[in-house]
């Protein structure tokens, strides 16, 4: 029983990391129709910046949090403005390709600016172990779950109550026409990129605290992408659920069957679910009628 509980706990913890990054994929997709292949890399860079801040201010968690969120926003805005915006009216595949180019740049930049080594990132008591009724987890793992649920609540309220949420969807649906309504699709895109960067930054930082900080952190993006698909590309909250499902499945398969099947199991689940629901669990169907 405790074994299962511990498997579930660690599954949820890592799933929450996937979920946060998956949400950032979905936010950008939902509001601009673009898939940002550099999302994992952006999370990684933000984690490294947080690490740099923490080593220079002696780990004051508030300064680290403020600093890295601030950086995440500025970073995202800069990327959006300099690289993505000029491509806005170009074919979507070209835009996606640009994000692939970005991911190459970011990966190189990490090693150029910092180094290729794994690091132990100890911010505040994120590393501390907490005992939850016999199940031991790290504080950062709890934090990541809390962050995920906060993000879910925030996104739900935003898309439910804000007119800006409708505008975001309109831009994704047809940005030229959205402009005809007076929507500044540039602003929408900026907001989406900033929000996505903050979410994936939070995921990156907390993952780095609970596990490790290394230049292969970007691979989280490769995990989160399937999670987004599982939840539905344009389903922001659904993606979070997708992340949790994948995290838990992997751990259950690893715990009861074999580790070698972990990765494969996640993908098998996705194939099965997509066969029944071709637009993911919560995704919107492509609307077509003649």
């Amino acid at each position: 029983m405790n074994y299962l509980a511990e498997l579930l706990a660690s599954g949820l913890a890592v799933g929450a990391v996937y979920g946060l990054i998956a949400m950032s994929f979905a936010i950008i997709y939902k509001s601009t129709g673009l898939l940002n292949f550099a999302q994992g890399e952006m999370g990684m860079i933000i984690a490294y910046v947080a690490w740099s801040i923490s080593t220079s201010v002696d780990g004051n968690p508030f300064i680290v949090a403020l600093g890295s969120i601030g950086f995440a926003v500025l970073f995202a805005l800069a990327v959006e403005r300099i690289v993505i915006r000029p491509m806005m009216s170009e074919p979507i595949l070209s835009q996606i390709m640009v994000t692939i180019g970005l991911s190459v740049i970011f990966r190189s930049a990490i090693i150029l600016i910092w180094d290729g080594l794994p690091h132990n990132m100890a911010i505040a008591s994120g590393n501390q172990l907490v005992d939850l009724g016999g199940v031991r987890v790290r504080a950062a793992q709890i934090a990541v779950l809390v962050a995920l649920f906060a993000a879910i609540a925030g996104m739900w309220a935003f898309f439910r109550y804000s007119r800006f949420g409708v505008a975001m969807r309109a831009v994704a649906s047809d940005d030229a026409t959205a402009q005809l309504m007076g929507v500044s699709s540039g602003k929408v895109q900026m907001a989406a990129w900033a929000a996505a960067a903050v979410l994936s930054g939070v995921a990156g930082v907390l993952f780095a605290i609970a596990y490790e900080l290394s230049p292969s952190l970007y691979a989280l993006g490769l995990k989160a992408f399937p999670a987004t698909i599982l939840g539905g590309l344009d389903a922001v909250i659904g993606s979070a659920v997708g992340g949790l499902i994948i995290g838990v499945t992997e751990n259950l398969v690893g715990g009861y069957i074999s580790s070698g099947l972990k990765e494969v199991a996640g993908f098998v689940i996705i194939i099965l679910i997509l066969m029944v629901r071709p637009y993911g669990l919560f995704g919107e169907k492509r609307i077509e009628r003649l």
């Binding site: 009216s89 007119r163 409708v166 505008a167 969807r169 309109a170 649906s173 047809d174 030229a176 026409t177 959205a178 402009q179 005809l180 309504m181 007076g182 929507v183 500044s184 699709s185 919107e284 609307i287 077509e288 009628r289």
Partner: protein
């Protein structure tokens, strides 16, 4: 070319609200879709633009609303002024912010948004209270939409979609409303009410209307001034009353045969290469 003047009773010597001068538009660096077109739309008037398929009408509207570049089109010569400002190369949102709204060709609804959300988008720049009032008005104009309010708009019938497209533009209460074939695919009854509404908006709100329409008889009924476009040029223009008496307009746009004032039947159309007098 004289161009239309402000409607009688409103004698102001202001420049027209929308003015296009000697515009040339080229697609893909190769296709010249509009050449040397000048046209003006005075404040408070209704100006109609007629012309056959591929004449360049929609292209002109795209230029006016700054959406040309999305299709690799460029305004290579000439200028477009709206409310005194040169908008030839301005961004769409800015043009819309200044008070011009377009009902684009092909409806262009946000397919996965509901009818209601589509209308909300129309009033994007308005306050929430305003939006509610305008939505009320649109729903009255198109009762059909009230029934379909929370349906995903992509599944609507063609005509219903057209209603949403027109309604969405009305939601913006623009200073100048540009309509690309508003009656396309609509039932006669609905066309009546759209034209009534356009007329009312113009009267009550002094809205200016720039109308591209294939339903020439309808357009001429409501328009003050008419331009006719062929092959990328303006070939004929004049006040609506005068245009109605033009023999070519009667034959090619209104379907009367030989000037005797009777509509000829589609069954009797003969095929021979006719020559329009204005294409001499």
């Amino acid at each position: 070319m004289a161009g239309p003047v402000a409607p009688a009773g409103r004698t102001r010597i202001a420049p027209p609200l929308l003015e296009i001068r000697n515009a040339q538009i080229i697609y893909d660096n190769a296709v010249e879709a509009v050449r040397d077109v000048s046209l003006s739309v005075p404040e408070g008037s209704v100006v109609a633009l007629l012309g056959s398929n591929g004449a360049g009408k929609s292209t002109l509207l795209k230029a006016v609303t700054g959406t040309l570049h999305l299709e690799e089109g460029v305004l290579t010569k000439g200028s477009v002024h709206f409310a005194g400002e040169d908008i030839g190369h301005a961004r769409t949102e800015r043009i819309v912010g200044n008070g011009m709204v377009l009902v684009p060709e092909g409806r262009r609804l946000f397919a996965n948004l509901t009818v209601d959300e589509n209308l909300t988008m129309g009033a994007h720049l308005k306050s929430t209270a305003e939006m509610k009032r305008l939505k009320q008005m649109v729903m009255e104009l198109f009762p059909r939409l009230a029934e379909r309010r929370s349906q995903i708009s992509g599944y609507l019938s063609g005509g219903e979609q057209q209603m949403v497209a027109v309604g969405r533009a009305l939601m913006a209460e623009p200073r100048l409303l540009a309509l690309d074939e508003p009656s396309l695919g609509l039932a006669p009854l609905i066309i009546d009410s759209i034209y009534q509404t356009i007329g009312r908006m113009r009267r009550e709100m002094n809205m200016t209307i720039f109308l591209v329409e294939q339903n020439a008889s309808r357009a001429m009924e409501i328009a003050d001034y008419v331009y006719i476009m062929e092959n990328g040029r303006i070939v004929l223009d004049g006040p609506a009353e005068k245009m109605r008496t033009n023999l070519d307009v009667q034959e090619y746009y209104l379907g009367f045969s030989g000037g005797d004032g009777a509509r000829k039947s589609f069954r009797d159309v003969k095929h021979y290469k006719r020559r329009k007098r204005w294409l001499s």
